[in-house]
Symmetry: D2
Subunit: 346 residues, 4 copies
Amino acid sequence: MNKVKVGIFGATGYAGLNIFRILSNHPYVDLKYLSSHSYSGESYKKLFPSFNTDMVLKTSDPEIARDLDACFVALPAGETSKFVTKLIEYNNNIVIIDLGADFRFKDKEIYEKTYGIKHNCPEILTSSVYGLPEINREKIKKAKIIGNPGCYPTSILLGLYPIIDRFKGSIENIIADSKSGVSGAGRKLSKEFLFCEVNESVRPYGAKFHRHQPEMNDQIRLISKDAPELIFTPHLIPMQRGILSTIYVFFKEDLPEEEKLKRLYYERYKDEKFVQILENELPTTAMVRSSNLCAINICKTSNNTIKIFSAIDNLIKGASGQAVQNLNIIFGFPEELSLTNIPEVI
Amino acid sequence: MNKVKVGIFGATGYAGLNIFRILSNHPYVDLKYLSSHSYSGESYKKLFPSFNTDMVLKTSDPEIARDLDACFVALPAGETSKFVTKLIEYNNNIVIIDLGADFRFKDKEIYEKTYGIKHNCPEILTSSVYGLPEINREKIKKAKIIGNPGCYPTSILLGLYPIIDRFKGSIENIIADSKSGVSGAGRKLSKEFLFCEVNESVRPYGAKFHRHQPEMNDQIRLISKDAPELIFTPHLIPMQRGILSTIYVFFKEDLPEEEKLKRLYYERYKDEKFVQILENELPTTAMVRSSNLCAINICKTSNNTIKIFSAIDNLIKGASGQAVQNLNIIFGFPEELSLTNIPEVI
Amino acid sequence: MNKVKVGIFGATGYAGLNIFRILSNHPYVDLKYLSSHSYSGESYKKLFPSFNTDMVLKTSDPEIARDLDACFVALPAGETSKFVTKLIEYNNNIVIIDLGADFRFKDKEIYEKTYGIKHNCPEILTSSVYGLPEINREKIKKAKIIGNPGCYPTSILLGLYPIIDRFKGSIENIIADSKSGVSGAGRKLSKEFLFCEVNESVRPYGAKFHRHQPEMNDQIRLISKDAPELIFTPHLIPMQRGILSTIYVFFKEDLPEEEKLKRLYYERYKDEKFVQILENELPTTAMVRSSNLCAINICKTSNNTIKIFSAIDNLIKGASGQAVQNLNIIFGFPEELSLTNIPEVI
Amino acid sequence: MNKVKVGIFGATGYAGLNIFRILSNHPYVDLKYLSSHSYSGESYKKLFPSFNTDMVLKTSDPEIARDLDACFVALPAGETSKFVTKLIEYNNNIVIIDLGADFRFKDKEIYEKTYGIKHNCPEILTSSVYGLPEINREKIKKAKIIGNPGCYPTSILLGLYPIIDRFKGSIENIIADSKSGVSGAGRKLSKEFLFCEVNESVRPYGAKFHRHQPEMNDQIRLISKDAPELIFTPHLIPMQRGILSTIYVFFKEDLPEEEKLKRLYYERYKDEKFVQILENELPTTAMVRSSNLCAINICKTSNNTIKIFSAIDNLIKGASGQAVQNLNIIFGFPEELSLTNIPEVI
């Protein structure tokens, strides 16, 4: 089989780095190109001295698109849409998997309001696909441009889909309380992410607004038009990887018994390689660490309320792993290729 | 001034140990007695080799009550009520501050159902007082027996009181999502508390029921008889100390603007030494670490919903510090005596 | 190719669990058998609910050897040598990779003195091989029984070999100061490994004696008969995985310049897939996390003293990964099969 | 008693912040002045929202010296010596406790070589005193200017003094391998101190040279002129506070038995409130956390080698606590005033 020629634009951030790690075990990928804004010209090994590679970081030159079949884009917000336009100019056929927010919305207004920047290629939004394979697999198969979902949305949407889909119209309130490891912030040099500020502390943030909220509301309303606004609170906790979302849903009607609700989840995800519906235990982030899994359990707490627990590794299923999963789908590879890492439970 | 003669029954658990630490800076306390089930006969210094003390751990002998003015009881659930009966037999005048659950309820049925054990001195429950000073100060002043609140209830009730008190009758739903450091579990030797199982993971537990739920419902209904059942989820996170509770309240009516809601909190707590209503920042557990403070902020998220954030050090305001605060109140000392530790924000 | 039929005796400890994780990506291994003392009869998935497996834990029955080509033994100290004798009775041809200490010594006296237990099959010690592939590869190829090295010895011996081998006879003193994550202690239920006792603390132990000391002295003297007794101090630090050994060597003679010393290391390890001699940076444990790598750097600090830094993931190169590496060597597979995980530097 | 009027120059760094915390419980200190370069004009409470203070941060104006009896200087390296000259111009009588390196050396050449900057008031060096009270108490009593020791030197020198003093002339080699929490780096905004870079990793640094080395050599040679150059390696480990130094000393002669060596330590430190010689256990950093203690144990490992273990809280005994201890000595207060915090062992 001809290998797919792949580039990573933004290879030194946490997402790009983890795509590199995953692809290095991919049998059908030929990694041709790594770019970096801050470190172009340096060897990748200089940054990650234990890596056995001789690749050199280049600038993010869109012309390289001519030599690539696919690329991952992990650029700072705002740069992406401009850059993608150019990539397509050089290679109309290239598959682009964007890890930022530029292709997560159909409606450029919501994007522009949420991110406070102009979208530079709104015309592409009609054909780009929200890359949550468990929901959008068929569309992804045919897509050229993927908006890879945010980490919080991945954990929350996978937890919500089966129940919203089944009881649409009956949802009264949804609250998602998420706990995230610090790597979600990327390699940002900011005081609040210094070890001494993070360790031995929990920190809520974005209590009034977080950029992932519109993304989630958008997706929820694709299933249930009249779903209520999601109430969302992210929290930073002293660990590197992992997101646990605890989701509370209130319904307007009485629900069937818990066992039946759970069967909904088993049914919905029975063919999914990367979703694990737990039988008895509640999910923890350790259960999915370093893997592309999402572990879910639900629990009925009254006639019309449930709790849903959903855990992912924010860097893998919440970013790099899901990105490679999308690549596998688009190129017709087995979906789990290079993503079979058993969770590092210890 | 004559010093108060004090004993600690259960001096080697995390609560007892921290009471020892706090009292060692208390000018009016004469610490006479430390007991331990597992280590009786050994010097305290053997367990905590850096402590500069020559106290020896005794068995928990109730007769010692004759020589004490007050005592802290940090015994395993079930032992306490039997033990307290005997303490009173030996010294009818002794002040007892119990760190367990045996004196947190007025209704022994709720206690027995919650803890699955018989209460051995239900007759005392009419005179014992729930030791949350910011709410019950006047009753505490006259009490002989204090049921020191649980750690989760302390953080949640302090966050809820002003708003429930003002809008009683109008509360539709309350959800408390709490994140706790591991010391809340005490020194229990259980696999789930091993470093390698806790670190780099978040773990929800008690999704259907937690023992602190009836305690909180009980207290909430003292302010608002028809308040809804609290929905509660505790989570274990990889840190030693601290609880952050994120509380979502839905109201049946539209609320005044956020600033007015906040003023409720400033008003309610304006004379409280240990409650800090934050102006702009959201509370973190680091903000209160090693102190007896509870830091609170609230945030209106829609016409009829608010988020309340409440942070404490679970070992101090959530246990030992609050216990000493109760002692200070009962004996007429300045309430903050030996509790003036500025939070260890770093 | 016929797959190798493999069993893991002791599959629920940290070593066994990680062998399971690694083998699940091994193309030529057919994992037939998992045993556990405490959990026999239960499904593996019950213990590790996110694992996608239907294997059931069995008792450690040596008769199963008949159906196996190879096995990993991760049993408590003392049980192993008895058990291995029986395995061989049932299958004289079976390849045994023991993760304990029973086959790490040639001299049963040293073993018995070090571990305080009788060795039950000393006759095997003549044919068993110390499984440090970078040193003993040729012997391992022909071995049936491997004593997989301890975690501290792996990091220290790989750091010492090139320099001792070159300057044997000239070594004055060797000090190895090692810092280990907590998983090195395994899943032992002991107070000292509780999260609250480990976190935010460094703890030295075994200051007078540690079981890995004789193992290291034994190996060092195979290269240089008159090498001095190694001075060794292990430390427990608040992390899960990883060992960094800082090694100080004093020589009786003046050494060549640093660059020449470093060339010794490059030369010695130039064909080794799992040893990385760093150019400029000092090794950290993050550089090798989740990988089978050992990262090394050396530094000349005076005419006759050097510092050597050596980092491994104690669960991988220090246990499970090295065990699989040994399996690959014995069966003639590419040595890095299923061990190509790029370090999880973040 | 008239209170001492005190200022803190550099009140927002980790050292300044902890001096503030300690002084807030000091009965004879009137804290008049807090300065900050980056935050002047802002309220201290804005930075530390849970603090109950209305102090406002000022610029570092030396003229304020007129209103102060004493001050703590925690300014960036290089600024200090200039600033101190001016302080003295305004108030020739002011007591200055400098937390930086500018007054730690008698010989300005060593300082200038070590720090690569010119010393602006070398004439002061003859009267300034190295503020390690357990060694220099009598000189400190009469000093006006204190060079507060570095954190590594404090832990290592306290561990070394008794043995060097007794066996001076006989020391062959000294190796100090130190493990430090991250707060030692201060609030520096640098990638290497981000949570995700520090957590789950050990990092050695300064393998060839660290600024505290000349400081230690200087002090060691005051006791034993012909002592060898100290070999030193600092390591960063994933915790906030604490330094453990593991010190290896080789002697030219055979040593007396361990018990006698230990008696040296008991004798030397028997009147010291802040040095704890442990009987059986090895010191951990948790044993001294949040306290001004230094916990030490020693262990004879051969006829002529010993290991010394020394633990401090780097922010307290290694900086702020020791600074206040020096203040107490100079002003004739009980040395432990406001420093009686029992270690936060959990």
